[in-house]
């Protein structure tokens, strides 16, 4: 579970649309190209605090909105989460799956003027794999062993594991390229140098970050405005006031904030579908009665997800038991039909009896102090009580809650998961031994092989089929993650904006944004 996903319904719900996914479905009106204000400034009110502007050393998803405009990635994902070219023009996984070859585009440069070429790619991978402070080594170390430069534009990744996930994986942090000249800078986390559309002109860390669009950026059609400011506004009322007073341009909104924004004369864009960001409860399978598969399965069936979505999210959180939303390639239709996504308290009671717990049991969940988590916890508490399980709620701040769970001191954690550009990140974290969200190391002997199978090919259909098998295994195992629902993202904006795109895997839709004069 994200360390601060908690502190961030934010990152996921409020910035879900910064990073490549497809919650498409926005106001599709277009402005007359002659009426566009390419000199405009966008001021984005963000509720979460970034940890670092070094993409390889950052520790939270809160960084991603800013990183996305500073650092272009090797690949990108479209609104539905499928890989598309970005700094790499093309890529290929060889037949035996031993190497993965990237051909870089020829017209991209870093903001310091250094060309984006094959040696730059190698320098970045070498750093990710060898830097003791790298926080993302684990995302690629099981896949990439070494990197060879074949010519100025061609890079060969020598694989130590299946490489089919690389096209989507390289659309996130591991694919963010830092200028080789800046890789050793001790203050890279404050003075970033990337190949993205914007350079940071000034910052007040934790408070405000000011960006200017590069004139020499390779994609003239992207980010059709001149200046961008991220204001960190922890208080929801502050963000809304700022927007209504015209001091900011846009901000993420959830639930009643949408009505408030609309009532204040602002535009509200809402994604047409769910994102990979989800509300969930994580269980430590080594504590309480969670070692019993039937208990985990019973809890999954005891949750009335429809009610949670309707009552707590005004419908803006699509009910679902599996970790991937509908419309995303890793989503399993078979699992939807399997019954594991149902609300079935009778079957839950049967499973508890099978587990030798006909009278239920008691456990304690760590709940971050943000109201949405407490609300989720209270509804789940009632659902579980209906089948005889007594869930005690212990409210604490997000950092403490996360700390207690990952170090094995909490039975369960109520929180949010932000997703990512590749579904394997979740599998690694939640279903594999040693995963950050899996302190009980719950897994099955088949899980590792099924996981490898999901990355055997870059073909989306093949990967999709492999994920269906993996999810079937996960639910047969009784996952230690109880998914509640997937967020539907909304943003409130000033009236002169259009073409804000929503991405299924998260991220802001700033790249396509139009602002009229």
């Amino acid at each position: 579970m994200s360390a601060r996903p908690l502190f961030t319904v934010a990152v996921s719900i409020l910035t879900v649309c910064l990073f490549g996914t497809g919650c498409a479905g926005i106001d599709q009106r277009t402005f007359d190209p002659n009426a566009l204000d390419r000199e405009a400034e966008v001021v984005y009110g963000q509720i979460v605090v970034p940890s670092s502007l070094d993409p390889h050393r950052g520790v939270t998803e809160n960084d991603l909105p800013l990183l996305a405009v500073i650092y272009d990635r090797i690949t990108d994902v479209d609104t539905d989460g499928n890989p598309v070219p970005m700094l790499a023009e093309s890529w290929s996984l060889d037949e035996p799956g031993k190497t993965f070859t990237l051909v870089m585009r020829s017209d991209a440069t870093f903001s310091d003027g250094t060309p984006v070429d094959a040696p730059a790619v190698k320098a970045n991978f070498d750093r990710i794999l060898t830097d003791p402070q790298s926080t993302i080594k684990g995302q690629i170390a099981t896949t990439i062993g070494s990197v060879d430069v074949l010519d100025s534009r061609t890079v060969r990744l020598n694989l130590v594991g299946p490489g089919g996930a690389l096209p989507t994986l390289l659309a996130s942090r591991p694919g963010m390229l830092v200028s080789p000249a800046a890789l050793a800078n001790p203050d890279l986390d404050q003075n970033p140098v990337g190949a993205g559309a914007f350079t940071m002109t000034r910052s007040i860390p934790g408070t405000a970050y000011y960006f200017e669009r590069r004139q020499d950026y390779w994609d003239d059609d992207a980010y059709r405005f001149s200046n961008l400011t991220f204001l960190i506004q922890l208080d929801t009322a502050t963000r809304m006031n700022s927007l209504q007073a015209g001091e900011s341009t846009m901000t993420g909104v959830v639930g009643p904030q949408k009505e408030e924004a609309a009532a204040g004369g602002l535009q509200v864009f809402t994604a047409s579908g769910a994102s990979t960001s989800m509300a969930r409860i994580s269980l430590n399978s080594e504590r309480s009665e969670f070692a019993k598969k039937e208990v985990r399965q019973a809890m999954n069936l005891a949750i009335d997800r429809e009610a949670i979505s309707r009552v707590l999210y005004s419908g803006d959180c699509i009910p679902g038991a599996q970790p991937y939303p509908e419309g995303y390639f890793a989503h399993s239709d078979e699992l939807d039909d399997s019954g594991w996504s149902s609300y079935d308290p009778d079957r839950a009671r049967e499973l508890l009896s099978e587990a030798g717990l006909p009278n239920g049991f008691t456990f304690t969940a760590a709940v971050p102090s943000l109201s949405i988590y407490q609300n989720n916890a209270q509804v789940v508490q009632q659902n579980l009580a209906d089948v005889g399980i007594d869930m005690r709620i212990e409210v604490m701040d997000a950092t403490q809650a996360r700390a207690r769970f990952v170090t094995g001191d909490a039975d369960a954690l109520v929180g949010q998961y932000g997703g990512g550009t590749d579904p394997g990140l979740y599998v690694q974290s939640a279903y594999m031994p040693g995963g950050g969200d899996n302190p009980g190391n719950l897994s099955t002997p088949e899980m590792a092989e099924l996981f490898a199978e999901t990355a055997r090919s870059t073909d989306v259909e093949q990967r999709s089929a492999a994920y269906a098998e993996l999810l079937a295994e996960a639910f047969d195992m009784g996952p230690a993650q109880i998914v509640l629902c997937h967020s539907v993202t909304s943003v409130a904006t000033q009236g002169n904006l259009a073409n804000y795109e929503f991405y299924k895997t998260g991220g802001t839709g700033l790249r396509t944004l139009d602002i009229s004069k």
Partner: protein
């Protein structure tokens, strides 16, 4: 007077030292773990342990304290656990915002509080006195953050007179600076103004009943002279006391108000650091705020000595 001031400054040093020890201890008692934050969203327990060791968080707390204190004595306030940002830079960036906010809030509270208190005291028992006393009760009762939200709704969103959020440095012009500070400062200073008004009223009423005031009035001195020359200085002592206490308390209020108005002050720095268990930043914040409070107390003591010579002799 000089000896008095030197004594007071010397007495502040052990206080600062004790505060650093207490705050260091308390910060480490807060549940939660900076290593969890620093290790990343998907870190395992092993990676967190490695990060803890790397950051020196597994050292004995006494060792950590003396290491930090040693750096402090050389003027080094340290660096954030989570970034390369030096604490001194973070504080220097944020300090002008909080000082501006505090300055405007205290000025507003002093002017309004003294005027209202003196006026009410001079009109004791009249409807004016009752009205002002009622208003002070209201002012003390209202949380500054709530008042701030009301101000934003009315003055920013409805009347469009002031900005709703943010801060503009003085270098961008006085009016922009003041416009951004007006609402948060008025919200923050209202409780202090009400408290000062009550003390000023009580002080004025108390002094006006003294024999020397009766004598001065009987001698035929004009009313304004009696008030300004004989009443003001003596009635000021309780006002100075409450002003000093409120100025120190105002720092805490500023943390909240800065969030309400999205101001990049020390409050924002502190809140972020607390959320992330960034101990070096919290410690630096505590040191700076302690110094700030000690300076206020020193100023109050000196004011006492000015208003009451007996204090100097003591």
């Amino acid at each position: 007077m000089l000896i008095f001031m030197v004594k007071r400054i010397l007495a502040a040093i052990p206080v600062l030292f004790i505060v650093t020890i207490l705050s260091f201890s308390m910060i480490h008692l807060i549940p939660g773990d900076a290593a969890v934050v620093a290790a990343g969203d998907a870190a395992t327990a092993e990676q967190i342990a490695a990060t803890r060791s790397q950051l020196g968080l597994d050292e004995n707390i006494v060792v950590q304290y003396f290491g930090w204190m040693g750096n402090l004595l050389t003027g080094d306030l340290g660096t954030s656990l989570l970034s390369s940002h030096r604490n001194i830079d973070a504080i220097l960036e944020a300090l002008p915002v909080t000082l501006s906010l505090a300055f405007v809030a205290l000025t507003w509270s002093l002017v309004v509080g003294v005027l209202a208190g003196v006026f009410a005291g001079l009109r004791r028992g009249t409807w004016i006195d009752r009205t002002l006393t009622g208003l002070t009760t209201l002012g003390i009762s209202m949380p500054s953050f709530w008042l701030g939200l009301l101000f934003v709704t009315f003055f920013s969103l409805q009347l469009r007179l002031f900005p709703a959020t943010g801060y503009s440095p003085l270098s961008d012009g006085f009016f922009a600076w003041f416009a951004h500070l007006a609402l948060p400062a008025f919200a923050l200073g209202t409780v202090t103004a009400a408290e000062i008004a009550r003390q000023a009223r009580a002080g004025v009423i108390d002094v006006l009943e003294r024999d020397y005031i009766r004598t001065a009035t009987a001698k035929g001195l004009p009313r304004w002279k009696v008030v300004v020359k004989h009443t003001a200085k003596n009635a000021a002592i309780p006002v100075v006391t409450v002003f000093g206490l409120q100025a120190a308390a105002l720092v805490g209020g500023a943390v909240i108000i800065e969030q309400v108005f999205g101001m990049p002050g020390l409050g924002s720095v502190a809140l972020k650091a607390i959320l992330e268990r960034d101990f070096p930043v919290i410690q630096a914040f505590v040191v700076v705020i302690t110094l700030f409070v000690l300076l206020i107390n020193l100023a109050v003591d000196i004011s006492y000595a000015y208003f009451n010579p007996k204090v100097r002799q003591a």
